[in-house]
Structures are given as structure tokens and as C-alpha cells.
Symmetry: C2
Amino acid sequence: MAVYTEVSDEDLERFVGDYDIGEVLSCKGIAEGVENSNYLLHTEKGQYILTLYERRVAPADLPYFLNLMEHLAANKIPCPTPLHGKDGKSLRNLCGRPAAIITFLAGMWPRRVQPFHCAALGEALAKFHLAGASYAMSRRNNLSVDAWRPLFQSCADRADRVKPGLSSVLAGELDYLEANWPRDLPSGVCHADLFPDNVFFRHEKLSGIIDFYFACNDFLAYDVSICLNAWCFERDCSFNVTKAKLLLSSYRKARPFAPEEIDAMPLLARGNAMRFLLTRLYDWLHHPKGAFVRPKDPLEYLRILKFHQQVKNAGAYGL
Amino acid sequence: MAVYTEVSDEDLERFVGDYDIGEVLSCKGIAEGVENSNYLLHTEKGQYILTLYERRVAPADLPYFLNLMEHLAANKIPCPTPLHGKDGKSLRNLCGRPAAIITFLAGMWPRRVQPFHCAALGEALAKFHLAGASYAMSRRNNLSVDAWRPLFQSCADRADRVKPGLSSVLAGELDYLEANWPRDLPSGVCHADLFPDNVFFRHEKLSGIIDFYFACNDFLAYDVSICLNAWCFERDCSFNVTKAKLLLSSYRKARPFAPEEIDAMPLLARGNAMRFLLTRLYDWLHHPKGAFVRPKDPLEYLRILKFHQQVKNAGAYGL
């Protein structure tokens, strides 16, 4: 639920006047997303999403994100694309923040993930990775293995308050991941946050991929493992191998895995379980009292991590 | 910011199937309103507001609210109107809660109130009151003078934590209001919550009145005094008599005040300052830790109350 910046009607009208989309009819804050302020903007020409980028997004990264959406949309990936103002610019300022208007995508994200969602996701992710190959810009993944130790250190002394023994589990896993993290898997543009609330469906067909504000260049199989963790575990954190098989088999039809990607999958899945466990733990321990956003439960990813720790090879995922 | 109930895509599609508005294209939670869950619903036929009524709204009151919107819209008051399902019903169930789809109104609520807003508001409120005269249903104001002592009692022992001395100010004011509250002013249907965020404007013209979930039968001049307090005080709680004059003079052009309404205005304004002070104080002291909704500052209405306490007669409001 996120609207951090209140935009006045006067400021909004001035801002929208820099585009060729007619007059504002309405503008309502959307109770989704946690990083930025999002508004559903309705003008004489149609519906759009207005985003004000808040402090967690580095302004220097915004051209990477906005140009990526444009590149992907031009390559037939169903994703929003930023509007250009009358001066040609897509990145502007509103209420002292970087801001952009992007196109609106129809569809609903699945509240209850079903196997057919995973099949559609696999294909879309592979096509996303293929389309990303011709994208010229690059951005380091600042939440990959290098980032985990500093994150851990800022939580280590209080982690056991969340669950006794958590700190030593994290310390041991971190040593293992740092020692074994792969160095040269096929790389490219990753979405890096492809959770169900970022994927829209209509009539059981995937109709849109949104929220590119964690996108970065990293191992493509790491991006796959993010989806494995986000889409193929049930609410009780049990692993649904039917969903995993559908996800991975439809992915590989569009972009076959290299053998080393298959070998690395359990490790990558552990790594990204660690990534979300650590960032959620950090938010859990550091979120201000009375904040609007309820932090997500970090322990969900501890259970996912434990599943992958006991996996012997990618066969466990149906690969 | 309010979305208390998460609606699944399957439940939503079934629910919308009971109406004749085509298929769902998208549905996004709106970060406005604090009492109910509101979604901006986009279907093949257009845009609508989907509301799920949460615990603060008594289900028995919903027919009063929904029928009132329909009555007012039929009488040319610019307000949303509930859609009827294929079975003719406007009040239905979704996710175990009473729910309704209402029409969507274009416009933005004024973040910074200007004098022209107050002039337009006065006229619209008077027309609202006139249109309400032919409304058949009735609902007691359960937040009027009878309700204030129990509210006060549930806050009295902790009020001084919010501001030293507050408890005795409230006790004294309550005695005064109970002893002097008028008994027979002109009555009718009141909106009873006509704050700026419930009034939309387009091109400096009032385009809509929303949120009828506090509507009730009470003194019409009491409803006027709510607007006086909500629209004519600046952010520093200084009183803007220009705005008040415009509000009241445009109101009386459409519906002239009876002399006893003018006489009672300072008392009514004190009363409703007390009403919002008490309900905000109650929410301030009782809101759960980690709740999504940031409670509103009760002391704003203490300053407004103090202003009215020193007013000698309605001349102070430009009447």
C-alpha cells in the first residue's frame, strides 16, 4: 500500500500539461507496491500509471529501468512503456521527485497461483531474457552475493529475536554461498522481482509484466530461481513440483538451459532465498513504528531456504 | 489508505458476472478512505468503484446509504449511484462482506482549499439538503450529542497524555453542549462528513460529492457547520472569514437560513468541533500498533473548538 507523496491537483495539472494526453479526469493513489508512490491517472485520452520514485530508487538507475521497458515493449514483451513528454523526455520531476507516466496494462495478478500460471510465466520469462540480449544498457545487481554479508551484519545481533538460532543459520549459509557462488553462468537482463503481484493475467493468459525497478544484469538462471521460489511454494511453504516442472519446461522450450545452469539451480535457489530472507529480515527489524507498509514475513524464506538446502540436484525441481 | 480485504481474481470475476458491465479488465485497490476497502474497477463497459464494507459500517445502514445516493443522483446532485445486478439488487456479498459497485465520478478533490471551492460547496450543500427533503428513509445521527459522553468517558483517563489539561477542557465543554444543544432546528438528510477529500472539482467547478457512509438525519445547519470547520480553517487553524462568507452566502441563496439556524451556528460549530475532536482522540488512543491508517491529529479540532468558544454570534462567520 503505497502513496508516500501527496500530489496537489494544481501540480498534477501542470505536470500532465507537459504530455499530449489531454486533461486530467481523475487521479487516485493505488494501494499496491511498496517502493514508490503510484497513481492511476485517468485523462481524456485514456488510463495511465503515474509513478513518483521515492528514496529507495536511485535516480541514476531510472534511465536503465525506463529505457528497458521501452526496449522490451518494442520487442513484444507485454510490459508498460513510459510516455514521452512534448519535449521528448520520459523522466520528469513532480513534487521534488523523479516521476514518469507509463502506459496502463489490463489484467489482474493471480492471488492464488495455479499450475497454468507457472507454465505461462516460464515462457514469458524466457522471452524476456531473449529480448533483453539486445538491450544496450547495463546495471549491476546490488542485491546479489556481495550485498548479503553487509545486510546480514546489520541484522545479526537481533536476528535471534525473530527466531532463536536464526543468526547462526544465516552465518553458515552465507559462508557456503560466498565460497560456492558461480562465476560464469549465462548472463543478461533479469527482472529480479518477478513475484505474482508483478504479473497480470486475462482469461488465463499472461497479459503483462510490471515493476522493473529491481531489474539488473545477472545470471539468467538466477532470475529463473526467483520465480521458482516465488511461484512454486504453497502458502504453507511446501514445494509444488508440478508447478516447478511447468515453469521450467515452458521456459526451456523458448530458451534452453545450458548444462551448467541446470547444475547451479539448487545453489541459485538457495542464494535467492537468502536474498529475500535477508532483505525481509532487514525491513522487519528496521521498519519505523507506525509505518504504512506492513513488512513481509522473513521466515517464509527461511523455510524455502531449508527446502533447497536438502536438495541434491535440479532433478528435485523436475529438471 | 485503505484496502482491508484482498479480493481474489476468481471471486471478483464471479461477483462482476452478476452485473451487466462486461468482463473485468483490471481492479486496483485505492489508497483513499479509511473505513472501507475501495477498488477502482475497470471493465469492458467502463470504470466503477467497488466497495467492500468493513466492520465500522453497520450492514443494516447500507440500504439507507445506497438508496440515498440513488435518490440524490436522480435529483441531479452530482454523486455516484449504485449499480443494480442482473437480479435487481445493488447490495451484494463479496469475500464475506457486504459489497456494492457504484458509478465512477471524474474530478479531483482540492488539496489546497481556495475561496472559489467554498462558494461552490455552499451551493451544492444547499441543493443536497433540498433534494434530501423528498428522501423517504431515515437514519439517526449516532455521532451527535448523545454519543459524545460515552466517547469522552472511553478517552478521559488518557486524554491528558495527548495534551495536559485536555480532559478538563473536554469535560467542561461537554457539560455546556449537553445543557444548550438545540432541540428543534430544521432537520433533514445530512452528509455529515463533507470534508475536502469527499468533494471533487473539475475546471474550478464542483463535479462530485462522494462517501455517504456517515449520512444521517440531523439539523441541516449542523451539516453546514461541519463544512465551516472542515473548509474554512487554514492549516495553522486560523479562521478564514472570506471562505466562510462565501460558503454561507452561496448556501443561503439556494436555501435561506431560518433565524434560529443563524443564532445556533456558533453552538453547532462547537458541537461538531467536539465530535471530530472526540472521534479522532478515540482513534488516536485506541488504534492498534502497526495499523495501516495513520490516525488524524485530534488537536487540530481542539484549536477549532477554542475559536468557536470565543465567538459571540454568527456575525463572526460573516452571517
